[in-house]
Amino acid sequence: MTYIPAIPLLPALAFLALLPMSRAARNRAIWLPLGAIAVSLVLSVMAFAAVWPGGAEKAAEPVYHESIPIATVGEATIDLGLRLDPISSAMLIVITVVAMCVQVFSVGYMRKDPRVGWYYAVLSLFTAAMLALVLADNFLMLYIMWEIMGLCSYLLIGFWHEKEASRKAAIKAFLTTRVGDIGFAIGLFVMFVTVGSFEFDAVLGSAAEWAPGVATTVALLLLFGAMGKSAQVPLHVWLPDAMAGPTPASALIHAATMVAAGVYLVARSMPIFEASGVALQVVLAVGLITAIVGGLLALVQHDIKKVLAYSTISQLGYMFIGLGVGSVIAGMYHLITHAFFKSLLFLAAGVLIHAYHNQDMRKMGGAARALPITSAVFAVGSLALAGIFPFSGFWSKDEIILVLTKDGQYLAAAGALFAGFITAFYVARLWFRVFTRKPQAEGLHEAKIGKLAPMCVLAAITAGIGFFGPTLGYFLGHKIPWPDLVVAGVSSAVAMAGLAAGWWVYGRKGGEIDTGAVKARLGAIYSALVAKLYFDEMYERLAVRPFTRAASGLAVFDISRIDWLVDGAAKAWGAIARVSWRFDDRAVDGGVNGVAEAIWAFGKRARSIQSGRIQTYQQLALVAIVLLLVFVVVKG
C-alpha cells in the first residue's frame, strides 16, 4: 500500500517539473503530466481493488492510514495524513478517470494555444490537490488542498488573461469562494477548540457528545464553506462567470471535481450534521433552493457553457438535497454519476464551440448531422442529466427522491421533481437549438479521434454505471436499493414531460419557432431571470462598491486626518519650542540661572527639530526621559 501517496504526488511532481521550464520547453513536455495522471489512474484502480468489496467495516477501519506531523502547537499535533477508505477510493477513480479524459482531450483541444504547457501544469497541480483532498485524514489538510484547488481554479479561469472578462471572472471566483472559506476556517477553529484535533476520527467520533449548539455552529460554518466551493445560492455567482476558462478545464474543475468538493465535505462531516439536526434541514433548504434557482437560470442562457454551468449549480443543489436528508450515499451517488455525465457534456460542448467558433446557441444548429459522434455522446449525457432510464442520472436522481419520500419529506420531493422538470426542459431547449434545426454556420466538422475517444469513454460510463448502483452502494457502506417503481415512474413521467414541454416550445416545426410570445407572457419573471435574479447587482451594490468607496475614503482619511495629526504634532512641537524660547528669553531672569539655562537649552534643542538636525534628537530624548521618569517615580 506504500503506493498510495504516489497517487497525488505524481501529478504534483509533474507540476513542479513543468514550473521552471521555459514556455517552449513546457509546451513540448505535456507528455509528462499525461504520463503522471495515467500512472495515478492505474494506482487508483489498484487502490480501489484493495478496498474492494468495501462495506461499512472498511469505512470504519481504513485500508491505509499514514501521516506525517508538520507541526506541534502546544499539545496538539498537526499532521498531513492520508487515509484510504471506500469513499476516498471511489473518489480517486472518479477524479483520475475524468482528469485522464480531460487531459487526453486537451491534447487536441489546446494544442494551438501558446501556453498549453502552463495549462497542463496547472491542471496537474489541481489534480494533485483534489486527489490529496479526498485522501486527507483531517479537516485542516482538507482545507489546505481546498484552497490550493481554489488557486488552480483562479489560474485556469484567468488562463486567457489578455481578456478583461477572464481576469474579472478569475478574481470573482477566488473572492466569492473565499467568503465561504472564512466560514470554513472559523468552523475549523470551533472544532479545534472543542476537540483539540482536526482528525476525522477524533472529530467525527466525538461529534455526538459536543455541547448543544456547538455541532450546529460547526456544521453551519462548514456548510458555508461548502456553499462557496459548490456554488450554492447565494454564493453561486462565480461559477457561470468561471466559464471564461478553457472548456476542458471547466469540465474537470467547474463541473466534475472541484465544485463537488463541498458536497464531499458535507458528506464527510455527516456525523456533525446529524448531531445538529437543524443543520441538516439547512442543507436540505439550500439544496432545494439551489436546484430550482440554478435550473431556472439555465433556462434563459444563450451561451451553451453557461447553460451547463447553471445546470451544474442545480445538480450540485440536488446532491445537497440528498445530504440534507442525512443520506451520504444519495449525495455521493449523484456526485459520482454527475461527474461523468457533466464532464462529458462539457467536453462535447468544447467540440461544438470549436466547430461553430461560437458559444451562442442561437448561432448553432444542425449539429446532429454534421457531428454525429459528438451528438450521440451529447445525447447520452443529456438524457442522463434529464434523468431518463437507463442513463446514470436517472438512477442517482431517483435515489435522492426515494430517500426524500422515505423520510416523509413530500414537499421537498415535490420541489426536487420540479427541479427535475426544469432540468429536462432546458436539456430539450439546448438539444433542439443546437442539434436539430437548420445549421447557422458552415464548414462544420467532426472532432478527431483524440477528442472523441475520451468522450466515448465517459459516455460508456454514463450509460452503464446505473446498473451497478447497488454494488456501489454496498462498496460505500450503505444501501442503494433498485429504484422504487412508483418513484421511478413518477420521476420518469416528470422528466418526459419536461422534455416534451421543451420540444413544444423549441423543437416543433424544425426548431424555427418564435419564442417571443412566451417571453412576453412571462414578462417580469423572464427579465428577472435574464438579470440572473439580481444577485450580481445586489453584491455589486451592497458589497463591492461600498467597499471600494470605503477603501478610497480610508486612504484619503489616512493622509488627510491621521497623518495630518502627525505632521500637526510635529509643527505644534516646533511652535511650543519657539514660545518657550521667547519665554525664557524675556521672563526668566539670571537669578535662577541653572534652571533657565536648562530650559533654554531645551528650547534651543527642540527648535532645531525644524531644521532637521537629527543629532539633537537624542538629547531631546534625554530631556523627555527625565520628565517622564519623575512622573513614573511619583506614580510608583
Binding site: T72, V73, E147, G158, H161, I171, I182, I562, I614, L620
Partner: protein
Amino acid sequence: MVPLLSMIVFLPLVGAIVTALMPRTMPTVPRVVALGFSVATLALATWALAIFDVDGGYQFVERFPWVPQVGIEYHLAVDGISMPIIALSALLTVLAILVSWKIDHRPAFYFTMIQLLAVGMTGVFAALDFVLFYLFWELVLVPMYFLIAIWGGARREYAAIKFFLYTLAGSVFMLVGIIALYITQGSFNIAELTALAANPDTALSYNLQFWIFAAFFLGFAVKVPVFPLHTWLPDAHVEAPTAGSVLLAGILLKMGTYGFIRISLPIMPEAAASQFWMWTLGILATVSIVYGAAVAFAQTDMKKLVAYSSVSHMGFVMLGIASGTQEGLDGAVFVMVAHGLITGMMFMLVGMVYERTHTRVISEINGLSSQTPIAGGLLAFASIASLGLPGLAGFPGELLTLLGAWRSDLWPGLVIISALGVLLAAAYMLWMVQRTVMGEAKGVVAKIRDLTAFEIATLAPLVVLIVALGVFWSLLLRYVTPAVQTVLSGMGV
C-alpha cells in the same frame, strides 16, 4: 567556547569599518567587501541555527559586567524566538546587499550603512540587557535614516525625518519603561526581570505594571506599526531604496512585536492579561488588519500597497500577541518570519520592475507575465504567498494567530472581523496581480527584459524558504513552540 553571538552581531561592524575605509577610487570594492562579511555572518547564523538546542532555553550566553556600578552588563543570548529572527536578518542583509549591487552613488557609505544596520538589527534580538537592547534599538535608526535620506526617492528628507522622529518619540517612552523597571526592580537584565515577574513575591504591583506596560506599548506600537501610529511606514517605504524597504519590512517592524513578546508579556504579565490591555491590543490589531487591507486596496503605487499590506499583516502578529495563547504566539512569530520573507521578496521584485520601467504606478504596469514571464510569475508567487495561500509561508502564521485569538478570551467578533482581513488580502493582492501581471504588455513594459540570472539567484532563497515553511511548519515551530511555552509558563498561563 566561541563567542558565536558576538561574532554574528559584530562581524558586520568590522565589515562596516572596513567598507568605510575604502578609497573612493575603488567604487566596486565596497559591495564585494560587504557581501563577503554578510555571507560570513549568514554562515555563522546558520551554524548557530543548526547547533541550537530547541529545548535548551537561552543559549550561546555571553555575560560580562559592563558598567558594574549600576549593574549594566554585556549580555547576549538567544532562545527559540530570537534565533530564527536573527537568522532571517542575516539572510535579508545578504539579499539587501545583492539587490543594491548597482548602487553607484557613494557606494562605500551606502554599504557601511547597510552593515551598521545589520549590527543593530541582530543586536536587538540577541541582547538580554536593557541598556544594550536600547543601544541596538536606537543604533538601527541612524543607518536607516541615512539610507532613506541619501538614496531615497523624491520626498526622501521628509520621510527620513518622519521615520526617525516618530520611532524616536516612541522609544523615549520605552526608555522611561526601562528606567522605571530599573528603579523598581533594580535590574537591567531582561531574563532576571522576567524571573522576578514570574514570582508572586517579587512581582510588581498591578498598577505599576499597567503604567510600565503603557510606556513600552508606545515604544513598540510605533515600531510595529499599529494603527493609528502607522503613517510613517508608507512614507518610509515609498522613499527608501529597495534594500531599505526590504530590511525595514523584513526586520525593523519585527523589533516592535518582538518587544511585546520578549518584554511586555513576560515582565508585565498581569498588565498583559488585564482586560484593558488585552482589549486594547486586540482591537488595535483587528483595526490594523482591516484598515491596512482596505487602504492597501485603494493604493495606486505598488510600494505603498505593500507598505499598507504590512500594516495589515503585522496586525495578525498583534492579534496573536493579544491572545496570549500558545497558538497565538506561535502564529505571531511565524507571521513575523513569513512576512519578512514574503514582503522582502515583494519589495525586491517591485524594485527590479522599477529599475526597468522607472515607475511603480500600478496602472502604468501591465502584462508582466507576457513580456517578462519570470518577473511576472515571481510577483504572482509572492502575492499569492502574501494572501495566505496554504502550502506557502503566509498561511500557517495567520491561521495560528486567528486560532489562538479564537481560543483566548478575546471577543470572537474580533476574530471574525480579522478573518475578513484574509479575504481583503486576497482582494488587494489579486487586484494588483490582475493589473500588473496579467493582460497584454503595453507601454513601459513592452520593451523591458526579464530578470537576469543574478536577480533570480537573489530571489531563489526566498522562494525556497517560503515553500519550505509553508509545507513543513515545524521547521520554524520546533524552535518557537518550546520558547513560547517558557514565556507562557512564566506568565502563569
